[in-house]
């Protein structure tokens, strides 16, 4: 199954971010949008998922898929507890007891079950981002979008969170779009890295990473890819 964008264009006021753009994404892969800030990669992801609509063109294959989104900021309700924050997105699709079970399940996945009655301001930045990951997984979108979710987090924590996501996403969503401008994050997570520049958005190159997850965790072969990508930039 594929999601395809056909001839899409989008501009904000006078700034043409995307002009007549075409691309196709297959399911069950981690697609990484890599490029400098402001090149239009977030706009592309938002059009793909229907968060914003394109000025012209079509998105094919999206249908009515549920979308989970992990934002750059945690976007948690500050006045609700960790668990209430997760229940907030589950209420529309599940009955109460189901939602409770799901919330607990995914909170324990991100090791935050102990903190389920805490408020966001009582948690560290990394913990908040983990809640946001738990929310995305509990919701169970068939498309998972992550827009620079690790910005400002230190390396150890970043790796931790990336592992959480890699270990769990497969069974939950068929499409994963990961937006970043951090090369290490991209190589660690992606199956396909799309190197963009712009605006207007242009695909400079597509790099497919064939190294197994295990090897990546042990830092093998990653340098080779890094060189390839850096050459291009």
């Amino acid at each position: 199954m594929n999601i395809e964008v056909k001839n899409i264009s989008k501009s904000y006021d006078d700034l043409k971010v995307i002009i007549d753009f075409n691309m196709c994404f297959s399911s069950n892969r981690i697609h990484c949008f890599f490029g400098p800030s402001g090149c239009g990669k977030t706009t592309l992801a938002n059009i793909l998922t229907g968060v914003i609509s394109a000025d012209s063109g079509h998105v094919i294959g999206k249908n009515n898929k549920k979308i989970s989104y992990i934002f750059q900021e945690d976007r948690l309700l500050p006045w609700a507890t960790v668990k209430e924050n997760i229940l907030f997105v589950l209420d529309s699709f599940h009955n109460k007891s189901e939602a409770q079970l799901l919330a607990d399940k995914y909170l324990s996945m991100v090791d935050l079950l102990k903190f389920k009655n805490h408020y966001p301001h009582q948690l560290s930045g990394g913990m908040k981002q983990r809640v946001s990951i738990a929310r995305a997984f509990a919701y169970g979108g068939e498309i998972l979008v992550m827009d620079e979710p690790f910005k400002g987090l230190h390396l150890g924590l970043k790796k931790n969170l990336m592992d959480y996501i890699i270990d769990n996403w497969n069974h939950e969503s068929s499409f994963l779009f990961f937006i970043t401008h951090d090369i290490d994050e991209a190589i660690y997570m992606a199956d396909d890295i799309y190197i963009f520049n712009g605006p207007p958005l242009k695909l400079k190159r597509r790099v497919t990473i064939d190294t197994s997850r295990e090897d990546r965790r042990n830092n093998k072969k990653l340098e080779t890819y890094k060189k390839i990508i850096l050459e291009d930039n």
């Binding site: 968060v51 976007r75 309700l77 907030f88 529309s92 805490h118």
Partner: protein, 257 residues
């Protein structure tokens, strides 16, 4: 735990000493000036207040004044919220209503009281004045609160297809609540001030304002001070009750912070 008890005790003693300090200032002023008509002694005011407590008309006046202030307040809260919601939904309506609110805010309250005396019966003047003075405050704060709702949270809720009713409850109401609470606390104090002022001029049959007025006519400063004290105490009592109610509503939210 132990720490918080000693802390509470300290706070308690501090408050008591502040209270005693100001009573002493009052008493010294009374002694320096030496005439009851200018500054009655705090003790004679308290004795007067105690006398009043046993007069049935005192309670009747207090109850009717409370009734007027409450009705005025409730009207301003209900209409303030409704008009604020419409203003947030429609920018033209907001721009249309804004000068009206600015004018109400900057017009002397006495002008309104005098015109209200012509329009309404004496008992309704204080209600109208309370309403009119509090309405713009509620409106301004609720509009501000709605404007401050985090767009990013709304976007998140939209992506996750959260039901509208839940967006309203969990995002809008929760964001606006602090603004609304602040407005209510301001209004509680203000409602008593302008309500009693309106009563002084419109003197309805049973009202604190009428008693203040007659105290003025008979140059009975002690009684004037005693009634004033009643207004202050009522205003404080309202604030405490309101704070308790708000605390109950938001209890869950803040108990852990």
């Amino acid at each position: 735990m132990k720490n918080s008890i000693t802390k509470n005790k300290k706070q308690y003693f501090k408050n008591i000493s502040i209270f005693i300090f100001w009573i002493l200032v009052w008493q010294s002023l009374h002694l320096i000036i030496g005439r009851d008509i200018y500054v009655p002694s705090p003790f004679s005011v308290l004795i007067k207040l105690k006398e009043l407590l046993f007069v049935p008309r005192f309670w009747l006046s207090v109850i009717y004044s409370i009734y007027r202030v409450l009705v005025g307040l409730l009207l301003s809260i209900i209409l303030g919220i409704i008009v604020a919601i419409i203003s947030s939904l429609n920018k033209y309506f907001h721009d249309l209503i804004k000068p009206f609110m600015t004018i109400i805010k900057s017009t002397p309250v006495l002008s309104f009281i005098i015109i209200a005396l012509i329009w309404f019966s004496s008992s309704n003047v204080p209600i109208f004045i309370c309403f009119l003075m509090c309405f713009p405050i509620i409106w301004t704060n609720v509009v501000e609160g709605i404007n401050q709702v985090d767009v990013k949270l709304l976007e998140m809720a939209k992506i996750y297809k959260v039901k509208r009713i839940n967006i309203l409850k969990k995002i809008y109401i929760s964001s606006v609540l602090p603004y609304f609470t602040a407005a209510c606390i301001t209004c509680l104090g203000l409602a008593w001030k302008v309500g009693v002022a309106a009563e002084v001029l419109s003197h309805p049959q049973n009202s604190i304002g009428s008693h203040l007025y007659s105290a003025k006519v008979y140059l009975d400063s002690t009684e004037l001070f005693a009634w004033t004290l009643v207004v202050i105490l009522l205003s404080l009592l309202f604030e405490i009750i309101f704070a308790k109610i708000i605390y109950k509503i938001t209890n869950k939210r803040f108990s852990k912070s």
